[in-house]
Each structure stands twice: as structure tokens, then as C-alpha cells.
């Protein structure tokens, strides 16, 4: 459904990779691998359409994502390095805004349940500023439980700062999404107990 062809990414003087191609089908879990600095984050940002490629083409359901940006973004969920959490708002407020801004209609009750499910039941009303690293991370990850109808999840190092149990839960959630016909594309340097083995794409293979 997601097809990438001949992608090249130039950063400053350095051509990070070129001729990168990938296909992601419904139900697939794709892990982008490679050592630090090889261009995984850059690749994800290209795929989401946040950055423009130096060359190449990205298609979603057969249409170029630049031409059909809105349709693509309606089906995309991207969580990058930056957690998109405002320090002054509580986890609940942050989550509700994240959903509303993205266009998902979710009521407060459902958001609350998602936060409880992800283990923030005691932090619902604290300002995000005082949360621990792992708790901040969880706030943004809670969106995953509310975005089932978004087919493509693109996650940049989602396991960072999470404790062992949270890693296992998240891996389970990702597997479930794939089992339900979704697609997941993620980077991580950690091992996680996925129910289905992820396909691995090594960016290093396309490096220049």
C-alpha cells in the first residue's frame, strides 16, 4: 500500500542514502534498522511528507503523497523524537488536543481510559512538566490506542525511556494493529517482544 521508489536523501554535504525502495503491505510490521546516523529518522520524515526528498517518489495507495497529501495524512499516525507534549497541560489535555488537532473525534472519557491503560492513572492531572521521561513518552504513545482507524503508524524509537513492562505492552499493541490489517513502520535499537517477527529494512544497505 505504501510504496517508496528510488528515494534519495541529501543532508548538507552528505548523501545519506539513494535508490532506496520499499513496499509495505497491510498487516506488515517493518523495522528500519541501521547504526546511529545512517538516516533512519530522515527516512521516516520523508515518508510522512514532512520533508522533501532529494529524488524519488512516495506513493500511498497508488497516489503520490504530495498530490494526495490530505487523504494520506488522514490515514497516517506519526510519532517522532519530539513528544508533542506541552509542559503546561496535563496528560489528559495534551492527549485530547493531539486527537482533536489530528481530526480524530474522541471524547474525554475515552482519552482517560487510554491514559489509564498506558499506566498514567495517578498522573492524569499533573502538568506534563513534572512527569518522568518514561511518563512523557507514554502520553504521546496513548494516541495509539485511539487511532485504530489510521492504517499507517510511523514511529521513531517508540521504546525510548519505557520500562520493561511498557515495552512489552507497546510491542503487543503494535502486533495487534498489524493483525487487524494495519501497517507499522518503526525504528528502534532495542529488542522488543513482538508477536509477529518484523520485516527488517537496513538503511545501511542503501547508504552511499
Amino acid at each position: 500500500m505504501l510504496e517508496v521508489e528510488d528515494l534519495a536523501c541529501l543532508k548538507g554535504d552528505r548523501l545519506l542514502f539513494r535508490d532506496l525502495a520499499l513496499r509495505l503491505q497491510a498487516g506488515e510490521l517493518l523495522r528500519i534498522a541501521g547504526p546511529n546516523g545512517v538516516g533512519k529518522t530522515s527516512l521516516l520524515r520523508l515518508v510522512t511528507g514532512l520533508a522533501l526528498p532529494e529524488a524519488g517518489e512516495i506513493r500511498w495507495r497508488g497516489e503520490s503523497i504530495r498530490r494526495e497529501r490530505e487523504a494520506f495524512h488522514r490515514e497516517l499516525l506519526y510519532l517522532g523524537h519530539a513528544p508533542a507534549i506541552n509542559d503546561l497541560l496535563s496528560p489528559l489535555e495534551n492527549l485530547r488536543f493531539a486527537c482533536a488537532a489530528a481530526g480524530d473525534e474522541v471524547d474525554a472519557e475515552t482519552c482517560m481510559q487510554a491514559l489509564v491503560r498506558i499506566g498514567l492513572e495517578n498522573q492524569l492531572d499533573l502538568p506534563a512538566r513534572v512527569l518522568s521521561q518514561g511518563q512523557r513518552r507514554r502520553v504521546s504513545l496513548a494516541r495509539l490506542f485511539l487511532s485504530g482507524r489510521r492504517a499507517l503508524w510511523v514511529l521513531d524509537e517508540p521504546f525510548t525511556a519505557l520500562d520493561v513492562k511498557a515495552v512489552a505492552d507497546l510491542a503487543q499493541a503494535l502486533s495487534d494493529h498489524c493483525a487487524a490489517g494495519g501497517m507499522v513502520m518503526l525504528t528502534t535499537h532495542q529488542d522488543a517482544p513482538f508477536a509477529l517477527t518484523p520485516r527488517v529494512l537496513d538503511v545501511g544497505a542503501y547508504a552511499c
Binding site: A8, R14, L15, L52, A55, C208
Partner: protein, 75 residues
């Protein structure tokens, strides 16, 4: 020298030497400076790019040179 009795009269500019020569002097100095900067920039660019090419290796250059689309566009 139709306008001027002597060179000193010319340089004096009817008492307005400072204003007239100040204008012309700064103007031409700026233009000369700009020219020097532009030409030096070119030299710097060439040396820097040469060094860069040596550093990264020539084969990392993309193969687009001959086939640059007529109206180059990004995307």
C-alpha cells in the same frame, strides 16, 4: 576643462569637496569592495569544493549532470 579654472578648483568643488568626494569616494569604494568580495568568493568556493570532492570521493557525485531536466523542479 571647460568648467574648471584649474585642478585645484576642481578638487575644491566650489567648497563642497567633502560632500562631493565623500559621496563618490564611498560609492566607488563600496563597488570595488563588492567586486573584490564577489571574485574572492568564487575562488574560495572553487578551492573549498575541490577539497570537498577530494574528501568525499568523486563517485558520490550524483549522476544527474547530463540529464538535468530542462526546467529543474524539486519533488
Amino acid at each position: 576643462m571647460a568648467q574648471w579654472e584649474s585642478w585645484s578648483a576642481f578638487w575644491d568643488m566650489g567648497g563642497a569637496a567633502f560632500f562631493v568626494w565623500g559621496s563618490y569616494g564611498v560609492t566607488f569604494a563600496l563597488m570595488a569592495l563588492e567586486l573584490v568580495l564577489v571574485l574572492r568568493r568564487r575562488k574560495d568556493t572553487v578551492t573549498r569544493l575541490l577539497r570537498w570532492r577530494r574528501a568525499v570521493g568523486k563517485d558520490s557525485a550524483r549522476k544527474t549532470g547530463a540529464s538535468v531536466p530542462v526546467m529543474e523542479s524539486e519533488t
